[in-house]
């Protein structure tokens, strides 16, 4: 091996590119397989509902808190800025648009990734290192269908519902802060109806479904291909959260550019 620094740098970059392409390929194959298996019988309805409970119901409290305080703090900032231009009447629509288009879907996805995506990665990687996934294989039970498909489906279904809750709670949080700051309550609400269109809400919910797919598929991929023992579990969990966060933010940019 050459000791030339340039050669070393090129080799290093090459390894990173090859590794990225390898992982992206594996990730894509696993995700496509999980989605294809979702439409093939037998359907594991009970597993899907169990995962929906874990992803949705168990995340509700943290999503409500996130939505409430995001709406509240965003309103505080908007009031401060809009008062300079005597545009307080636009506070409601601005808060509602921001919540439905961006803050609701993105912050919900980030919170659920931290709570559920990491748990998926940790659970699957623990199953991997203790040979439970091998055990499923030997029993002729496809681990992708049994473990990954229900998680991805549950996240795709539950993220839009959680986002809808976050949107509503965020607007309520904003409304309460606006009233506290002396804004006219009627104006806050009526201008929302005038300016926010249903497409804002729909597109936000579509984004949320895509984020659900990303957080679950990344978490499952990282867990499913864990190597090593307890250290591997830790690495997988960390990577799952970091990669899902980045993928969600990049995906948000791409979808926003396409939708709005």
């Amino acid at each position: 091996m050459s000791s030339n620094p340039v050669t070393k740098l090129v080799a290093f970059c090459g390894r990173i590119v090859l590794s990225s392409v390898f992982h992206l390929g594996h990730y894509s194959l696993l995700s496509i397989r999980a989605l294809v298996l979702a439409i093939l019988p037998p359907w594991r309805i009970r597993s899907i509902f169990r995962q929906m409970e874990l992803v949705g119901v168990n995340s509700l409290f943290v999503v409500i808190l996130t939505g409430l305080f995001t709406g509240a703090v965003f309103t505080l900032q908007v009031i401060y800025g809009f008062r300079r231009f005597s545009a307080e009447s636009m506070v409601g629509p601005t808060v509602a648009t921001a919540m439905t288009r961006e803050l609701g879907p993105v912050l919900t996805a980030l919170m659920v990734t931290g709570r559920v995506g990491s748990a998926m990665a940790a659970e699957l990687s623990a199953m991997k290192v203790t040979e439970q996934i091998d055990a499923l294989n030997v029993m002729g039970a496809d681990p992708v269908k049994y473990l990954i498909t229900p998680r991805i489906l549950a996240a795709i279904v539950m993220l839009p519902l959680l986002t809808a809750v976050a949107d509503a709670v965020g607007v309520i949080g904003g409304y309460l802060v606006a009233i506290g700051k002396g804004l006219d309550p009627g104006q806050f609400a009526s201008r929302i109806q005038d300016i926010v269109v249903i497409g804002d809400v729909y597109n936000g919910l579509i984004k949320a479904a895509v984020f659900g797919f990303i957080l679950a598929s990344v978490g499952c991929y990282m867990g499913f291909y864990t190597k090593g023992g307890a250290e591997g579990v830790g690495h997988s969990t960390t990577h799952a959260v970091v990669c899902a966060y980045v993928a969600i933010l990049v995906g948000d940019f791409v979808m926003t550019a396409m939708m709005f």
Binding site: M127, N137, M139
Partner: protein, 246 residues
Amino acid sequence: MGAPTIMIRDLRKKFGDQEVLKGVTFDILAGKINFLIGRSGEGKTVALKHLTGLMTADSGEIWFDDLEINQATRSQLDHLRLKMGLLFQDGALFDSLSVGENVAFPLWFHRKAKPKIAQAKADKLLAELGLEGSASRRVVSLSTGERKRVALARALIMDPEILFFDEPTTGLDPLLSAQVDELIGQIQKNTGATVVVISHDIAATLTLADQVSMIHDGRIIASSTPAALRANEEPNVRMFLAGENA
């Protein structure tokens, strides 16, 4: 249909630069107890993972009757696996399920029996293995010996034609080890299944086995009856049987 004969031919596997299997060739006798022995780190478990389709060989062939598993489709492999039972070294029980659910899982997953019938069969197997009334216990509450027996019950519930045991007595006290060895013998006698045991327990090997294959440095260096193995003059076989480091 009887248990299939398994033939392994020139199996090779590398992990990075390290070649673990360097052309493993041996036969597994149908309806008999076959031991694959060797020192730790010689590739016994890797060979077992190839036999069960959990790993794919770099080259070589594994034939289950007329099916070569490296060339098998996923559905062919799944179909073959319905005939297999594998007892993992540490049990590989599902933490999220109770003991009874673990044992009944294969029946439930493949919808081979209604839940009540599957659970009744699981209870019966657990009772036969000395774990009566344990069906509702959580896996985390089990001792090492109990985990092995639960895993064994799970491996047996589909009435497999081929049973694999990966170091079944590792981590057990001598009394439990003897019980597990006795169980392996009984199970083979009662079911007529092909049994493959990965082990470095010399006493159990010489007592239980119908055929013994010894792996050393990634190759099979002996494959014979226990009596013939005892008479084998190969230095590594002699050292292993004498309990010395090769």
